[in-house]
């Protein structure tokens, strides 16, 4: 059975160009970049090249890029550095729809005596800007706002927000894990001080990410015990990963146009076709500015896990905001923060496309989805009632 992969916000296929670029670093060039001999030490050149490729994709300078193990570590490193460098400030601001890497981290800081404001969003997932600006104070050490939401794809106006926040002398961090490689990111045009990214979200390998640290930003390392990365992150460099991430960044830059146009059209086609054929369905955050590859569609009166497992029978891979898929019993905190009713939140499916998604795949999904929803609704004790109510 062919796999139809529309779960690219979870992870992506590693591009063959990236695999090719990495392979020599497992076999012939396995040295340690810290060694005195040129066999190992010579690798600093390769690392430097990769660092430049990463910097180029986001409009940064190479020395502003710190390699980490991925998005979660980048987030934790950024927040740790900001709070350690500003020990007098005890207030943090984020939104209610942050990724668990930030949400859970901040809940922990909250337990440790920090004051955390989780700013609400509207029904479309857009930040309540008035509440956001109201929450800032002299005590605020850092603002952390995701650039684009992983579940809905809703984009925060980070360029404007970061400039405003920076003007008030407050550090601005953004989790751009879902953004880099999907829409243009240019830190030279905004006020972002710290930015997290992860290679496996744009056809790079897993286990490698980066943190952008604007030049001049005070920094305290979280991982110590070595001089690597200029003493900002100890540990032997993951050379194959770093090289792979560099190559993936270069490729992502080349493919941004395709994602912004062709992939966007495919996403729109998928969305419109499903909304048209499946009654009582809607797009979560559909009125907001969104990533071109993501759509979160709520199918009312059915449960997400059941939908996913039926899709799985056709080889279609996607995700759900349903409670049952996560092992928790509450549906996605993102959809709940947006006020999506339970009837819809439990049955929300996220389709996330990529540069490799084809028209045929989208057509296949459009063909298979309606009968799946219809079948599950025919089993649901609520459906008939709801359908009848809608007719009156």
């Amino acid at each position: 059975m062919k796999t139809i992969y529309v779960d690219n916000n979870a992870t992506t296929k590693v591009a063959s160009e990236v695999v090719e670029a990495m392979l020599p670093y497992f076999t012939e060039r396995y040295g340690n970049a810290s060694s005195m001999h040129s066999f190992g030490g010579g690798l600093v050149v390769d690392i430097r090249r990769a660092r430049t490729q990463v910097a180029d994709l986001i409009g940064a300078r190479p020395e502003e890029i710190l390699f980490t193990s991925g998005g979660t570590e980048s987030d934790a490193t950024a927040i740790h550095a900001a709070l350690q460098s500003n020990p007098d400030k005890r207030h943090i601001v984020a939104s209610r729809v942050e990724h668990p890497a930030i949400k859970t981290l901040f809940e922990r800081y909250q337990k440790n005596g920090y004051r955390v404001t989780f700013v609400p969003v509207d029904g479309e997932g857009r930040l309540d800007q008035a509440a956001f600006y109201d929450s800032l104070s002299d005590d605020t050490a850092i603002v952390s706002l995701m650039w684009a939401n992983n579940e809905t794809g809703v984009i925060n106006p980070v360029d404007d927000l970061s400039r405003e926040v920076r003007a008030r002398g407050i550090l601005f961090h953004t989790d751009a894990v879902q953004t880099v490689g999907k829409i243009p990111v240019d830190v030279s045009r905004n006020g972002v001080d710290l930015l997290s990214m992860s290679a496996h979200k744009f056809h790079g390998p897993k286990g490698i990410g980066a943190l952008y640290i604007r030049k001049g930003t005070k920094f305290k390392p979280m991982v110590v015990g070595g001089h690597q990365e200029g003493g900002r992150r100890a540990g032997t460099e993951n050379v194959p990963g770093i090289v792979g991430m560099g190559r993936a960044c270069a490729l992502a830059g080349e493919n941004l146009g395709d994602v912004g146009t062709r992939v966007r059209q495919l996403r729109d086609t998928l969305e419109q076709a499903l909304l048209e054929v499946v009654p009582r369905s809607m797009v979560n955050g559909g009125q907001a500015e969104r990533l071109p590859n993501t759509t979160s569609i709520a199918f009312e009166y059915v449960e997400g896990e059941a939908i996913l497992l039926m899709m799985n029978e056709y080889g279609i891979c996607a995700s759900s905001g349903s409670a049952c898929t996560s092992g928790s019993l509450e549906p996605s905190h993102v959809l709940r923060a947006m006020g999506v009713p339970f009837t819809a939140a439990h049955g929300s499916i996220r389709y996330s496309l990529s540069h490799y998604t084809t028209r045929e795949e989208v057509d296949f999904i459009v063909d298979k989805m309606p009968p799946i929803i219809e079948r599950l609704r025919s089993m649901s004790p609520f459906w008939k009632q709801a359908a009848e109510a809608a007719l009156h």
Binding site: Y301, A306, M310, L329
Partner: protein, 276 residues
């Protein structure tokens, strides 16, 4: 991804007995949209009181649908008295196994069955006794206590898996842990010689220990125990069920009952069996 057994997957992809029985003899509705799962169960009886047909409608995940399907298969052909004995564990075993996070799906099936039978008899299922601990899912301390005891649960996650309790906002986790500790006997005071018990305290503590620690274990083997009297350090008990007349009962008495009472009440207790 959940590790579902082939049987769960099969019952999910090809559920048996989906639908409505318009002239059903019993109907049981449980769950709600906000909870994330709901089940309506119908059955029809023949003249001899045997279930000839059962149907269900379920909103929920794969294991909820599979549990409902399994339940209807198990019910059909049974008398009401036989069907009544189906437990949530039976539903889970029928399906091979359910992930522990999904045990509540089988519990939902069991509750629907209880309600459908009560509906037929014109009774209502009594509201669960006790005080609500988990406000998100309306689960009481008594329900949690009984589930922890019956299924030998040791962690909050297990309780959530069975009852959903604690699966929402999480505010009740401390209270759930306290119930687990209580059932597992952790906070039961181990008496020191320095603080001798009054007779009344001693009797109460013996009763509590029998109830919490000993009876559940004996029940598993179909046995039982009853406190007759306490005289000084002599604890007189009567054995019930399969324990009475069992050759191993003297061993049970000394090694289980006496040991536990000595551990949790007083070191000098001696347990004696009273025969009627």
């Amino acid at each position: 991804m959940w590790e579902y057994t082939d049987k769960v997957k099969e019952h999910f992809l090809n559920p048996r007995n989906v639908g409505v029985i318009e002239d059903a003899d019993g109907v049981g509705e449980v769950g709600s949209l906000s909870c994330g799962d709901a089940l309506t169960l119908y059955f029809k009886l023949d003249a001899d009181g045997r279930i000839t047909d059962a149907k269900f409608q379920t909103f929920g995940c794969a294991s909820a649908i599979a549990s409902s399907s399994a339940l209807t298969e198990m019910m059909i052909g049974k008398t009401l008295e036989e069907a009544e004995k189906i437990t949530n564990d039976d539903i889970a075993s029928f399906l091979g196994e359910l992930p522990k996070e999904k045990m509540h799906c089988s519990v939902m099936g069991h509750e629907a069955l209880e309600k459908a039978i009560a509906c037929y008899r014109g009774e209502t299922v009594p509201k669960p006794e006790g005080n609500v601990i988990c406000e998100c899912f309306g689960i009481t301390d008594r329900q949690i206590e009984a589930t922890v005891r019956d299924h030998h649960l040791v962690a909050i996650d297990d309780v959530t898996g069975h009852l959903k309790a604690g699966g929402g906002c999480g505010k009740c986790h401390e209270n759930i842990q306290a119930i687990i500790d209580q059932v597992q006997g952790k906070p039961m005071p181990i008496r020191s010689e320095a603080a001798p018990l009054t007779n009344l305290q001693k009797i109460r503590l013996i009763e509590e220990t029998l109830e919490r620690e000993i009876k559940p274990a004996l029940h598993q083997d179909g046995g039982g125990i009853e406190l007759v009297d306490v005289d000084g350090n002599r604890v007189m008990v009567k054995l019930r069920g399969t324990c009475a007349g069992c050759k191993a009962s003297q061993v049970t008495l000394k090694e289980t009952v006496e040991a536990k009472l000595r551990e949790l009440v007083a070191k000098d207790l001696v347990v004696e069996e009273v025969r009627s």
